[in-house]
């Protein structure tokens, strides 16, 4: 199976990215409508719910089946689902999700351009190096952004919700592998830039 060119893995990925691009675009439009509506619409009942990531600490001890060994949970992570109420938290959260969708939309668009050129059999074009570099930076800063949002949401729940036998704790959740992956993408971007320069030299050698 071919990797580059027409009817290759690259062209298959281009098709997948095209579908994803349209899906995200439609989702973005719907979210923008929801964002606009969140300030005007009056929410009644529990139809619209939020699910936010939380980390909890349990006070209850855990005993071994034989009763000999006692243990305890240090930290549990999961999602807390609760009915949405009109206000700053709803509008702010929808705005954050809109931003996240916009961010994904932009990354997928850059990837589409890269894979389109790969499916045309033209990997080493200057624009690809630049696009891949932006993707690498987006992956790195996106991880920091995700960390900030998750921390804010878990901090919010720790302030506004209580439960018997457990305590909500602000969650510090940053994935170093994603950061390393972003740095690796930056290196690959530089390889593409060098390749594009060599390609240009080659095309201007008579």
């Amino acid at each position: 199976m071919k990797v580059l060119g027409k009817r290759s893995i690259a062209s298959f990925i281009t098709s997948v990215l095209d579908v994803a691009w349209w899906g995200i675009a439609i989702g973005l439009v719907l979210l923008l409508v929801l964002l606009a509506g969140s300030t005007f619409l009056e929410l009644r009942g529990d139809n619209l719910t939020f699910s936010v990531p939380v980390a909890v600490q349990l006070d209850a001890p855990v005993h071994g089946a034989s009763g000999e060994t006692s243990a305890h949970f240090e930290k549990l992570q999961g999602n807390l689902r609760f009915p949405a109420r009109q206000g700053a938290f709803l509008s702010g959260s929808v705005a954050v999700v809109v931003l996240a969708f916009g961010y994904m939309f932009w990354i997928v668009n850059q990837l589409r351009h890269v894979f389109r050129s790969l499916s045309q059999g033209l990997p080493f074009v200057m624009a690809n190096g630049r696009r891949i570099r932006w993707i690498g930076l987006a992956v790195i800063f996106g991880e920091f952004g995700r960390f900030a949002i998750v921390y804010f949401w878990s901090y919010y729940t720790s302030l506004h919700f209580v439960a018997d036998g457990l305590r909500f704790a602000p969650s510090v959740d940053i994935n170093p592998i994603t950061i390393v992956a972003g740095l690796a993408i930056l290196v690959i971007a530089e390889v593409f830039q060098q390749g594009a320069r060599l390609q240009e030299d080659q095309s201007l050698t008579i």
């Binding site: 240009e200 030299d201 201007l204 050698t205 008579i206």
Partner: protein, 68 residues
């Protein structure tokens, strides 16, 4: 660029068009044009050899160094 290709002057002296030269030495017109307009980054020895043979000249007749 410091190296200047004097192909247009040599072609004028010989009374040959760029298209004609490109056909004789097996270059595309686009590549011949890149050479003539000094946009080339490098010239292969094989190309230089073909140019010198067809134009009956020395490499120094085609290339000159200009101070920036």
């Amino acid at each position: 660029m410091a190296i200047h290709v004097k192909l247009d002057a040599v072609l004028a002296q010989r009374g040959i068009t760029l298209t004609e030269l490109a056909e004789r030495i097996g270059l595309t017109l686009a590549n011949a044009s890149i050479l003539k307009t000094n946009k080339a980054r490098a010239v292969r020895f094989t190309t230089l050899d073909a140019l010198c043979r067809e134009l009956n000249c020395q490499p120094g007749d085609l290339l000159e160094w200009l101070a920036d």
